[in-house]
């Protein structure tokens, strides 16, 4: 029992440490932002991995769902808790922002999940390869829609989310976003893990390994695909909401196909169907992206090159389809949720 508690205790200690370091400005804003991006990218890669890794489909437009979550939660939080030029006076007292914020994030996630449903419904009825094309198209459609809605800034982007953070800071002067990103990253990982370790969720692993056998041996494959896709895009939406509030500003261009490609790179770098692989690759990739930032556009030579090298020498990714606990079985006794 003591051992089983060690993971939550370690996580709590990590959170407290980072928050205290940020509170007393031992780590500067730049480092804080990188840490926040790590968390957000963990959600992005592990949620895409659910569809591309565990289920073995090929979704290429993850950024579209990140965008839906980012915009829905941003518009909601700005309209609800701040004085805004377009949306006017706050609809709720700003001091409730710290309670309302997680709910607003969830609303963004739910909106993204429904966007996912709209994309999945036509594509899973037809043959598998169509999903790739339809998700790329969906990614473009979502961005084009956003650009054409003037009320949310159109191509100029949407801002005002920093004021939501200030509203939270008026209640208590702590690094709120570190708390939220941490919390939602952990919750996302728990959700994905609980899903794929249940007999229910293993239905999608059966689909990946032999879809015909899955359908004939009692798995409602169409329904499972929809559910997994909605879960995946819903979590992407939550990541989008977090991203928007960390940056304080969103622009449709930040959610284009390049962002989707980043998500794909993380999934293949980490290993298909490995949650620990996705976490590991999100950490590595975020750091790598920061290192390559001075190169600007050239990083888009470096990253595909990395992917090609990876496919040559380790096509199964860092972890393959294994988890850390498969490689070090002793870790198992520390895990709570299996």
């Amino acid at each position: 029992m003591k051992q089983k508690l060690s993971v939550p205790v370690a996580l709590l200690a990590l959170l407290m440490t980072v928050m205290v370091l940020a509170q007393y400005e031992v780590i500067d804003l730049y480092i804080q932002t990188i840490i926040l991006f790590v968390g957000i990218n963990i959600i992005i890669s592990s949620s895409l991995n659910l569809v591309n890794g565990h289920m073995g489909e090929f979704s290429c437009g993850h950024a579209g769902f990140i965008a839906v979550g980012a915009y829905v939660s941003s518009v909601l939080s700005v309209a609800l808790f701040t004085q805004d030029r377009v949306f006017g006076a706050p609809l709720l007292p700003p001091q409730y922002a710290f309670i309302g914020f997680p709910l607003v994030l969830l609303a963004g996630g739910i909106a993204a999940a429904f966007a996912g449903l709209l994309v999945a419904l036509p594509s899973f009825k037809t043959r598998g390869d169509y999903l790739a094309i339809i998700t790329i198209a969906a990614n473009y459609i979502i961005i084009t829609l956003i650009i054409n809605i003037d009320k949310i800034g159109g191509a100029r982007g949407f801002m005002g989310m920093k004021r939501v953070i200030f509203a939270m800071e008026d209640v208590a002067e702590i690094p709120w976003m570190i708390l939220w990103v941490f919390l939602f990253t952990i919750l996302s990982i728990i959700a994905i893990r609980r899903f794929v370790s249940s007999t229910y969720g293993k239905g999608i692993i059966a689909i990946q390994q032999d879809e015909v056998a899955a359908e004939i041996m009692s798995v409602n494959t169409n329904k499972m695909k929809l559910i997994a896709f909605m879960l995946s895009s819903g979590l992407a939406g939550i990541a989008g909401g977090l991203y928007a509030h960390v940056i304080g500003y969103v622009n449709p261009k930040s959610f284009d196909i390049l962002k989707s490609t980043e998500a794909l790179v993380m999934v293949y770098l980490g290993g298909m169907g490995s949650i620990t692989g996705s976490i590991l690759s999100a950490v590595l990739f975020t750091l790598l992206l920061e290192l390559l930032r001075p190169l600007q556009i050239i990083k888009w030579v470096a990253i595909p090159l990395l992917l090609i090298i990876l496919m040559q020498f380790r096509p199964e990714g860092i972890m393959g389809n294994r988890e850390l606990s498969d490689i070090f079985p002793r870790l198992k006794k520390f895990y709570r949720f299996k």
Partner: protein
């Protein structure tokens, strides 16, 4: 009571007639065989019954209810399970997971139970696991519960596949050439196993088999098809001496 009733079942594959006007009735607790030369349409019959193909024509009813047009997983939920001619296990999952997963249509908990690990979730997962472990015990597969099927011998994979089919608690079991690819020593064991399953689980079994030894020693009744058409029906003795059957199998040394 009639378990399975098939009337006028016909299947075309873009012009090719794979099955024509096929009729059969299986009673409770029967063990019946379906034989015929290569490409005769035997697997097609099973694919139609399990809902994998939608018939061009004909009606399939199970325990008095029409099941034509249902999706495969719905057919499984009604109580029909099957094995495949070329073993189709989920090879990257453990044997235990393979067997547990066949209960997917009777999970009886929702996605909310799964995320919150409710009492219902835990109870049902325990029951699902217990049933799977019981089957592993019965089939003497306990030691390989955590193995991946691809690492097992062909004979063991066959056994796992039958155990997986039984895990969905079927009332009718369809076996598509269960003895295919087995060494003769294992064939004898398989015959005993099928006989034992038939008696213990009290279910109807319908099997396709190429090896005459297997059908002859197990089935009370056999249907023979050739080019999608029934050419003979009857007891093993009647079938063995039926002139049309001998003609269809001419040159086939398996008879």
């Amino acid at each position: 009571m009639t378990v399975l009733k098939i009337t006028k079942l016909t299947q075309y594959f873009s012009g090719l007639r794979a099955l024509a006007d096929f009729n059969i009735q299986l009673e409770e607790g029967e063990l019946v065989g379906l034989i015929g030369p290569n490409g005769a349409g035997k697997t097609t019959v099973f694919n139609l019954v399990s809902g994998f193909y939608q018939p061009t024509e004909g009606v399939i009813s199970f325990l008095g209810q029409p099941i034509t047009g249902l999706k495969p997983h719905q057919v499984t939920a009604h109580g029909i399970a099957r094995t495949f001619q070329n073993i189709r296990l989920w090879n990257e999952m453990t044997v235990l997971d393979n067997i547990m997963l066949a209960q997917h249509s009777s999970l009886d908990y929702g996605i909310r139970d799964l995320f919150f690990r409710t009492g219902r979730y835990q109870r049902r997962e325990r029951e699902i696991r217990d049933l799977a472990m019981e089957l592993l015990e019965i089939f003497k597969l306990r030691e390989v519960a955590e193995e991946k099927p691809k690492n097992l011998s062909y004979g063991l994979q066959r056994k796992v596949e039958i155990a997986r089919a039984l895990s969905s608690k079927p009332k009718l079991l369809l076996l598509d050439e269960p003895a295919a690819g087995l060494p003769s020593r294992d064939v004898v064991e398989l015959i005993d196993l099928i006989r034992w399953i038939h008696r213990e689980f009290k279910i109807a079994i319908w099997m396709i088999e190429h090896q005459m030894k297997v059908v002859m020693s197990l089935c009370s009744r056999i249907t023979v098809i050739d080019f999608g058409v029934v050419i003979a029906e009857g007891t093993p003795e009647e079938i063995q001496h039926h002139p049309d059957v001998i003609k269809a199998y001419l040159g086939d040394d398996q008879l």
